[in-house]
Symmetry: C2
Subunit: 427 residues, 2 copies
């Protein structure tokens, strides 16, 4: 029988975009992996349950990182002076080629997972590399850690360096092998179909991947409309399609199963319409978009149109795994977008962005990212006593201070799906 317990503290989360739910000195009652409710006082039925009392700490949902490249962790903070295409060739592809080596992959991937833990990222959607064995290893390491993740073997069969190019057949076979083996293997770690992007996947490969996604009913992740150079290259490859999104759509990779597209900076009106119609998720990675001079995604506009948006580190285009940092950059990006749009696309508030960093991306994982009833209990305990304070702050102000001026040192505990997660240890 699963335990019922409660955590106690200053609870803050968002059910809806832009609207905090706050319960000071309240209780979250958890049964097994799921939340029973948030209470000011424990009712009779919970009188004797175990209570983890976190005193004056904040309790917030765990952060969700909707797009990151695991192998690029080794390059974090390097080479942030190039655009997308030269950056891929100078930094990214050579690094990714190393992941045929299980020994090397284990070191980097373990270290990455420990960093995700450190920054309170309880769920993430991850690109591995083309390499089957180390993609499996990454899933195993995530499962060991207790953190939740979708992990994709990357598919690439064209316009890539020889050392990082698969045959169509091998690409599909290796992908299917992973789906066979891992779809049911873990509860919190699942495979996801991951064509890198149109430039590096022939239509035949894309179509094969669409079929696999349908056959195994697994989600899809890829990149869309990040950069002018990329888009014109895609146009030259597929002049028969009216836009970039339609290519994925034609291959069954655009919302026939739950689908995340990273970036979407330069999507046109037709693409936005298709995104709405097919319930797409957008992974918004402002640090990466700034660092690679890609531009600023129209997040306010996408949210207003009803597109689901989550936030993402996109390492190592992004230089930080901290979702607090990503929230900050997202606010800054939205402010500049407001100017760019002649003050039409309104800025995003901290509450807007906190929603996107928790429930916004969490929805992709099911009932994740909120403290509503039946949601999986993913939470962080925030001890902000080291943040200078010269008056009493509200819970909302304390959350702002933590996000904009705090760091991993403020995160005292992490819970994923009802379980307290300790620091991953090398095994």
């Amino acid at each position: 029988m699963e335990e019922i317990f409660a955590v106690k503290g200053n609870i803050i989360f968002t059910k809806e975009f832009g609207k905090y739910e706050i319960m000071e000195d309240g209780y979250i009652v958890v049964h097994g992996k799921s939340i029973k409710g948030v209470y000011k006082e424990l009712t009779e039925e919970y009188r004797n349950i175990r209570v983890e009392d976190y005193g004056d700490s904040l309790i917030i949902p765990g952060f969700v990182d909707l797009h990151l490249h695991a192998p690029q962790f080794a390059n974090l903070g390097l080479g942030l002076d190039k655009e997308l295409m030269p950056w891929l060739e100078a930094y990214t592809f050579p690094e990714e080629s190393k992941y045929s080596d299980v020994h090397y992959a284990r070191k980097v991937y373990f270290s990455l997972i420990r960093e995700l833990w450190r920054f309170g990222t309880t769920r993430s959607c991850v690109f591995a590399t083309i390499h089957k064995n180390t993609t499996k290893l990454l899933m195993d390491l995530f499962a060991d850690s207790g953190l939740g993740a979708y992990v994709g073997k990357v598919n690439m069969n064209r316009n890539s360096p020889d050392y990082l190019t698969e045959t169509t057949e091998a690409s599909l076979n290796d992908t299917e092998e992973i789906l066979e083996e891992y779809c049911g293997k873990y509860e919190l770690v699942k495979p996801i179909v991951t064509p890198r992007f149109v430039p590096s996947c022939s239509f035949e490969l894309l179509k094969g991947l669409g079929e696999l996604a349908e056959k195994y009913n697994v989600p899809v992740q890829s990149h869309l409309c990040e950069n002018y150079g990329e888009i014109s290259f895609v146009k030259s490859l597929h002049p028969e399609y009216k836009n970039y999104a339609e290519i994925y759509n034609g291959a069954g990779l655009f919302g026939d199963v739950p689908t995340i597209m990273a970036h979407c900076i330069l999507v046109d009106e037709d693409e936005i319409e298709l995104m709405v119609k097919k319930d797409l998720y957008v992974a918004h990675s402002p640090n990466s978009n700034f660092n690679l001079s890609s531009g600023i995604a129209p997040i306010r506009r996408l949210v207003s149109r009803g597109v689901s948006v989550g936030l993402a580190s996109d390492i190592s285009g992004g230089h930080s795994l901290s979702m607090m940092n990503v929230i900050t950059s997202s606010a800054q990006a939205a402010n500049i977008k407001w100017i760019e749009s002649n003050r039409v696309d309104q800025p995003l508030s901290t509450a807007d962005l906190f929603y996107l960093a928790t429930k916004g991306g969490g929805k992709f994982f099911g009932k994740v990212g909120s403290f509503e009833e039946d949601y999986e209990f993913d939470a962080l305990v925030i001890d902000d006593r080291n943040i200078p304070a010269f008056r009493t702050f509200t819970v909302e102000e304390r959350l702002q201070k933590f996000i904009y001026t705090g760091d991993d040192r403020n995160i005292k505990e992490r819970y994923v799906s009802g379980k307290k997660i300790s620091e991953p240890k090398v095994y």
Copy 2:
């Protein structure tokens, strides 16, 4: 007699914009407060001097923060969802009014200085408030800490809340009292004439401040062209001037003595010409400019024209005192400016920005911000062993990793003007 000593480590600094000087496993020889030279091996004459061996650590110049508001430290991370003018009224002015209270000021100012220490900011140019006594206190606290600073009593005699408005006479008298008392009081902490900005200073006040700056030969700091609303307000106040800069210039506050203008986002061609002619310094505060939806300053253009630029946190418009964070945001801002300028204003490299964060702003303090001969020895010792590394990095790559992915935990020692500075202790 002043001691001669050396520090040993992996030395990296910039003499020129964009160009690293690197000496692996080298020595910096310091005599008293000044650098004698950087050497691969110690020569005969230095054979017996004390050597602080920092092993494999990096040794870099201390960071210079060319613009920040000390009282706003209490608001750090709060209210980053407003534009300049409403933000001043809702958050900033009410907080600044508290600095008539010496007890309160001491708490906040001490805490600020400890944070500057923590983040390796060895020199800063600081706005206090209109209050004479607590401005003096701030200078005393800086002097106690060992960090270098220019500190200005802020002048405001119009368009400000009653509780934060001085008479012209009191504003000038209080300013002069501080100049009299503090110009020669400390070696590393000096007063600076600090009209808040044109909207809050009558021309009479500005002119009086210009005369004081000339009489006492002290530098000037203020704000210029941050925001559209501000600029049109200034135009309505002074239709007789062709632009914002000319108002300061007409009052003797634009380069007749060394002068820093913060922001300069929306400066026009005439203003840039005047800045070049009068050797102005620009304090570039990208976090503040993002957070307050002000826009992006044309830093590449200003640098190309020969304007001196330094980087600045501008707390609490900026949310972080970390100059590593400011470098990162400056790189991001420059990338977006590159797009905005139709790819004319080239992005800024890490070496460009590292120069601006050290020698670029350091020049305002004299021979500060570099490890060249006769420069004051301001330095940070960077221990980056906690930053995950899966291959051997060059010194330049290690600096990038520290700036983009490290934090204050990597700063092991701080030196200012030849002295090792320990953590400020409450007295």
